[in-house]
Amino acid sequence: MSKITLTINDKQVTGQEGDTVLDVCRNNGIEVPTLCHFKGLTDIGACRLCLVEIEKERRPVPSCTYPARDGLVIRTHTEKLETNRRQILELMFAERNHLCPYCVASGDCELQSLAYKYQMDNVRYDLSWPALEVDSLHQHLVIDHNRCILCGRCIRACDEIACAHTLDFGNRGWKDMVCADLNQSLGQSSCISCGACFQVCPTGAISAKSGTYRGKPEEFTGVDSACTICGIGCSINALVKDNKVVRIDSPDLASSRGLLCYKGRFEQIYDKKNRITKPLMKKDGKFEACTLDHALDAVAAKFGEIRAKHGNDSVAGLTTSQISNESLKAFKGLMIETIGTTLVDTLDGDSFRVIHQGITKFRNDGKLDIEISPEEIFKADCVLVAGADPLTTHPVIGAAVLNAYKKNKANIIVLDAQKNSFASRSAVWLKPKQGKEEAAIKALTDSLKKVDAGKSGKDAGLDAETLVDAAKIIAGSKNCVIIYGEGIIKLQNPDVIAALLNLAAVVGKSDKGSLKIISLKPQGNSRGAWETVGLCGMQRADMSKVKAAYIVFADDGMADPKVLDAFKKTEFLAIQASYLSPITERADVVLPSPIAIEREGTYTTLDGKSVSVSRLVNPPDGTKQDHETIREISQRFKAR
């Protein structure tokens, strides 16, 4: 890109071709006020605060949309412009209710800061006092239209970043409002709850239910980390005050991986009430709090005793896939290396085994790196979503599909017996009979290979026309990505996964030779857990003869109390968990464990990248990181 030279406020400055006048100003340290501009969103020149005077232009022009050219002579802060800006601010304050002391954003508001900057001590216009709705029916967000300045940032973020386009201007004119769908409440609209609108809102119009009235930005500490909820590994920036997370933002919202989802942004902030903060031991059927030393000694001693009596495989280990790689390694160290059992598994072990067997059927080695990164979805011009509903399970991947749908005009093909969130947007919805997914996938593969697919298609309950349509779309695409998830995995049939991999092989490979397929693994560190622990116990372990078990639940919200049914005859059960639940009820010893926002270490994303996670807040006193607790047991076991 070539350099250009401009004159701004009598000074020679340089910029790049393609910059706007505002870019050049900001890159050269000249502060031009803005409200509707947000880095990464399309500029619309709506707020008129960034107006500048350019020689040979008849009137002031918005610098955010004016392309910088060589030789422009610009003035940014003439008396006329500054008077103008103050007047615009006054009009904004007069239009709706901007009484700062009662606003959630007071102290963290761009409108308020500008009013201070322009020393706006009075408003010369009558305040119009419209009584507008406050929409608080959404689970996490509140929209107070009285605080809205109609800058349209939320609308552009919803359209350009989230690609949901739930928000838009409605009732244009004097009654202009930001409306969701048909002017519905946000909680009842097509909103995907990503929170992008909340992050870009310059005033208190869109606020989150968590973290309001918690203080001013200067009282918060920022912590950079990665989200560990679903295995995508989104970067997050958390604002923390008094060991509580106030809000979680995306550090670079406008980048392709910048979007967060409701799980990462809102849900993980909440700490439930029944938190375990002290080790508990069961005495006469009731839990009693005890010291950590006491509990750890008891666990090590009991495991030693049972192993000596019944052999190595009388002790079993089960872990959630939500904990860090360090904790998983410590768990493996304790169970396999120290105690010497072969009975280890992860709570999502069934999902791992079926995917592993599927890959093994396809090419022998069973390695998970056959898949591509979710990044590829942004480049896709066709997405096949098979037995998955990414907008609920992995919302950021769901949003990536919407991104491809909107920006690349990608066709979405849904292969699912059930309706999912993409069904209404899909070009073709292949709806196989329940349990006939494999036949449906094979029929689609055959249609692509131009082999007669009539028989398997019929078997799957698909009509020939739909199959041909789907095959045509895939054959006509340059970059087709296949996503599969829960719906396929829960069938527990490796043949279905092998069939999908075969289909992916027919569709085409990426530059690096991997298949354009992504499996939505159930948990935050599923891939890490499978690579560390999963491979050790390749069969569904028979836990019925087990005498003692060590179970790491942490704050696994998906754990089903049924997993404990295998341990009915177990003499001794030690459980490491964050919350009291029907699961911990069955334990003999309960050890405290940190929750997601308190954990640290490395996590493996579903495409195999390692991300480092810092703790956002400290765990309660006495609660150690999972790997520390597990290592302590190992040491005590060895030292017996």
Binding site: D159, H165, T166, L167, D168, F169, G170, N171, R172, G173, K175, C179, A180, D181, L182, N183, Q184, S185, Q188, S190, S424, R425
Partner: protein
Amino acid sequence: MSQVSTDYIRAEINKAVPADIRQKIEKIVEDNRGKAGAAIRVLQQVQGISGYLPPSVLQTVSGYTKIPLSEIYGVVSFYSFFSLLPKGKHVIQVCMGTSCYVKGGEKIMKTLKKDYNLESGGITADGKFSLEMVRCLGCCGLSPVIAIGTDVHRKVKASQLKDILSLYK
């Protein structure tokens, strides 16, 4: 378009759209596919099916056109021609342009409110008449003017309304 309550939208939006209407909508959308600025034309033709745009129908239009529902609402709420609420068999338009207003337009509105319980954007209980307030019908010399359907009635006095409305069955 006059303001519509969110309760109404919520109640209406998930109602099933009959198959024959779906087909008509699909045809309208297909006929306009690829044409620039087709949204308004599509909505105009779809409104022609049943005289207004039920929220459930807009949902269907959004599905076929792939235009987000919020964008459709932006268009529908901007043009007074579009209506999310059912219209009467006969639509009464009362002119409130400067000339008609001065000559008694407001009195006509008041009489309609008093005698027929009709307000701007409203509809009579029997569904026979609905009322719209319009800015100018372009015949100021005949003011005050009201239009019922395609008929224009000139120099209307409030006392004549009963007779005029009785012409419409």
